[in-house]
Symmetry: C2
Subunit: 255 residues, 2 copies
C-alpha cells in the first residue's frame, strides 16, 4: 500500500480548489456542517483555500439532538466562518401532513422514505442558500460535497441528497486518510474522532452496514484481504448500489 | 439527417424498459405528470411496457394553475393508470417561513432560488412516493425521468431536481421526435402539442432561452446549420452548464 502523505494531499487539495475557482471565476462555498468529521475536514480545506469570509456553513437539524449543532459550532468557531442554522423540521412535518392526504401509512411503510427525505431536503436547502447568498453577496458560491471514498464505494449515500453537489474533495480518500488530513489542518478533535452516524436511526453507520470502512479500504486494496463473509457483504452492497452512479438510458437505433 | 422511425424507436424503448426491469427484478414506475408532452409520452411508454397497474402518476402543484392538473388527468385517463396529487405548495411556504429566520430578502434575491426549489421538492416527493409505494404494494418502483435531448444538450434542467431519476427513455430524442413517438402511442393531443413552459415564470421555455429546440437540433446536426448568433447562444449555454454533468473531483497524488 502506498504511504499516505497528509501534508502533500492537503496542499494539493487546496491548490485544486483554488485553481478550479480561479478558472471558473467563483468565490465561495456553502457547506452543510453535520458536526461530523467529513464536513469538518471539508470546511477546513475550503477555508484554507478561499478564506473564511467566503465560507458559509449550514446546520440543518430535523428533530435532531442539539449536540450536532454545538459540534458544528466548534468547527465554525475554530475556522472563523459564518454559520447559519436552517431548521428543516417544520418543512419535514409539513411534507408529512400533505402525505396524510394520500392515506394512512404505517411507520414501517414510511420508514425508508422518511430516512431519505431528510438528506434531499438538506440538498435543496444548500442549493437554495447558494443561489440566495450569491445574489445577496454578489459572489458565486458552490455547494461543496463531503462524501469520502469508502461511502462512495459501497454507495452509502442518498441519491438526490448528499450525492448532489458542485465540487468534491474527499471522494478519493478513505476515512483514516480523511482523519489524517483533518489532523494536519487541526479540525477540532471532538468532531474529528466522532463515530459517524446518520443522525436518524441511532445506530452508527458501521453498525448498520455490518462492516467497517477500514474493511472497505482493505477490500479495495489489492495487497490486503478481508475475510470472505465481509468481502461478500461489501461486494453485495457495492453491486446493489451501482445504479446510483449510472442512470440506464435508452439510445436510439443507429441502423 | 437520418430518417426517424417512430414505430421502431417506440418498440425498442418498450423492449429496453422491459429488459431492464426483468434483469433487475423491478415492477413499476413513479412518474411526475406535469401536463406537458415529455411526461405524457414517458407515461405512455411505461404503461405500454409494464401495464397500467404498475404505473403511478403524480401531479405536484405549487401555487400553480389548475389546467396542469386537469391536463395530467387527460393522460392518466387515457392510459388508465393511477394518478395521485401531492401539493407541494405548503411545503414550499413552510420552507420560506424558515428562511425568514435568516433575514429579509428581496424578491430579486430569492427569485433564482425559488424557481429551482420547486423541481427539487418535486424530486424529493417522487422518491418519497417510490419508496413508500414499494413498501405498501410490495413492488419495486423506479422514478422515471422525462428529459429530452435538446434540454439535456443545453443543460436546461435543475441539478438535484428533474435531473435526478432512475431510468431515462427520451434523453436521445429531440422534441419533434418525442412528438412523433407520442403520436404513435396516442398521447392526448392537448398534452402532446402544448407549448412547454416551466410553470413558474409565465414565459415559454423557448422564449426564455432565446432559441428554439429545433435550433438546438439543427445545431447538433452536422449537415444543417443555424445562424451564427443562434449558434453562439446555444454554445454558450451548453458550455456554461457542462458542470451539471461532471462534478470536479480531487484525485490523490499518484507519485
Amino acid at each position: 500500500m502506498m504511504k499516505f502523505n497528509a501534508k502533500t494531499e492537503t496542499e494539493n487539495i487546496i491548490e485544486f480548489i483554488r485553481d478550479y475557482y480561479k478558472k471558473n471565476k467563483l468565490d465561495g462555498a456553502i457547506i452543510g456542517i453535520s458536526g461530523g468529521k467529513d464536513s469538518g475536514v471539508v470546511a477546513g480545506l475550503f477555508t484554507e483555500a478561499l478564506g473564511k469570509e467566503n465560507i458559509i456553513g449550514v446546520t440543518m437539524p430535523c428533530h435532531t439532538v442539539a449536540t450536532a449543532k454545538s459540534d458544528a459550532k466548534l468547527v465554525s468557531d475554530y475556522y472563523g466562518f459564518k454559520l447559519v442554522n436552517f431548521d428543516i423540521g417544520n418543512v419535514f412535518d409539513t411534507f408529512k401532513e400533505e402525505l396524510a392526504n394520500l392515506g394512512n401509512f404505517s411507520k414501517e411503510e414510511t420508514e425508508n422514505s422518511d430516512i431519505n427525505l431528510k438528506p434531499r431536503l438538506r440538498m435543496a436547502t444548500l442549493y437554495y442558500l447558494a443561489a440566495l447568498y450569491s445574489a445577496v453577496n454578489k459572489k458565486k458560491y458552490l455547494v461543496a460535497g463531503t462524501s469520502n471514498k469508502g461511502e462512495l464505494y459501497v454507495g452509502y449515500f442518498t441519491k438526490g441528497g448528499d450525492s448532489v453537489h458542485d465540487i468534491s474533495v474527499l471522494a478519493d480518500f478513505f476515512v483514516d486518510e480523511v482523519i489524517q488530513i483533518g489532523e494536519y489542518i487541526k479540525v477540532p478533535e471532538k468532531v474529528l474522532y466522532k463515530t459517524p452516524n446518520d443522525d436518524l436511526s441511532n445506530l452508527s453507520d458501521e453498525d448498520k452496514l455490518g462492516f467497517t470502512y477500514d474493511d472497505v479500504k482493505r477490500y479495495c486494496d489489492d495487497e490486503v484481504n478481508v475475510d470472505e463473509k465481509t468481502a461478500a457483504k461489501i461486494k453485495k452492497m457495492h453491486d446493489a448500489n451501482l445504479h446510483k452512479f449510472n442512470i440506464p438510458t435508452y439510445r436510439r437505433n443507429k441502423n
